[in-house]
């Protein structure tokens, strides 16, 4: 099975612009989460969606929004880009293991550079 896929791989934007990042989960996974990873730090949780509903939100401004589609793919939107939004954006899809644990798998990420 294919893993989590993300597009685009790299993106360069200027301050004030808007960006849309896309993610396709592993087949059969119904949950998608988004993370921001700034250089030298661990990933920071942004959103989680399950069955098209937002199930969790991290401490990010309203400029960040997301949605999940009926096929469980997801988009992350960021408005009014700031220099500080430059980061690796990671998408993860989740499944429940046979033991009932919530297990998460990551895509390769989208590298966003804001100039």
């Amino acid at each position: 099975d294919a893993g989590v896929t993300q597009s685009p791989t790299h993106l360069i934007k200027t301050r004030g612009q808007h960006v849309t990042l896309r993610c396709s989960p592993i087949s059969g996974h119904k949950s998608v989460s988004w993370y921001q990873q700034v250089l030298g730090q661990g990933p920071q949780f942004i959103f989680q969606y399950y069955e098209k509903e937002e199930r969790g939100r991290g401490n990010f401004p309203d400029r960040f929004s997301a949605r999940q589609f009926p096929n469980y793919s997801s988009e992350l939107n960021v408005n009014a880009l700031l220099l500080g939004d430059s980061a690796l954006y990671l998408c993860a899809s989740s499944r429940i293991t046979s033991g009932g644990a919530h297990e998460q798998f990551f895509g390769p990420g989208t590298r966003l550079t804001v100039l």
Binding site: G42, P43, Q48, G56, H102, E103, F106
Partner: protein, 111 residues
């Protein structure tokens, strides 16, 4: 803020040696997962350990969890140059679907 802290922040060892890295966290968790990341790319899932488990093995990896001390350790045995990467622990907070990552341990294995 990040609730997990990995220790050490950086580790350099010779090929064939064992590497041990530790993770501490602050609040109750459902499970803890370890990930590897090569050069700012995507995270590779290594192993999941549930809060009611104390030890798990996967190939050359051994993970322990001590919920009383709120800590976990990842042992990589017989390390290889290909193990050079950053390693992160991520904890699933109880009652949520939110994973909190630590700051990572940068492991360098010298050939």
């Amino acid at each position: 803020s990040q609730q997990g802290e990995e220790d050490p922040q950086a580790l350099s060892i010779q090929e064939g040696e064992n590497a041990t890295m530790n993770c501490s966290y602050k609040t109750s968790i459902n499970n803890l997962q370890w990930y590897r990341q090569n050069s700012g790319r995507g995270l590779v899932h290594l192993i999941l350990i549930r809060s009611n488990e104390r030890e798990k093995h996967s190939g050359r990896l051994r993970v322990t969890l001590d919920t009383s001390k709120k800590s976990s350790s990842l042992l990589i045995t017989a390390s290889r140059a290909a193990d050079t990467a950053s390693y992160f622990c991520a904890t699933l907070l109880s009652g949520t679907y939110k994973y909190i990552f630590g700051t990572g341990t940068r492991l360098k294995v010298l050939a």
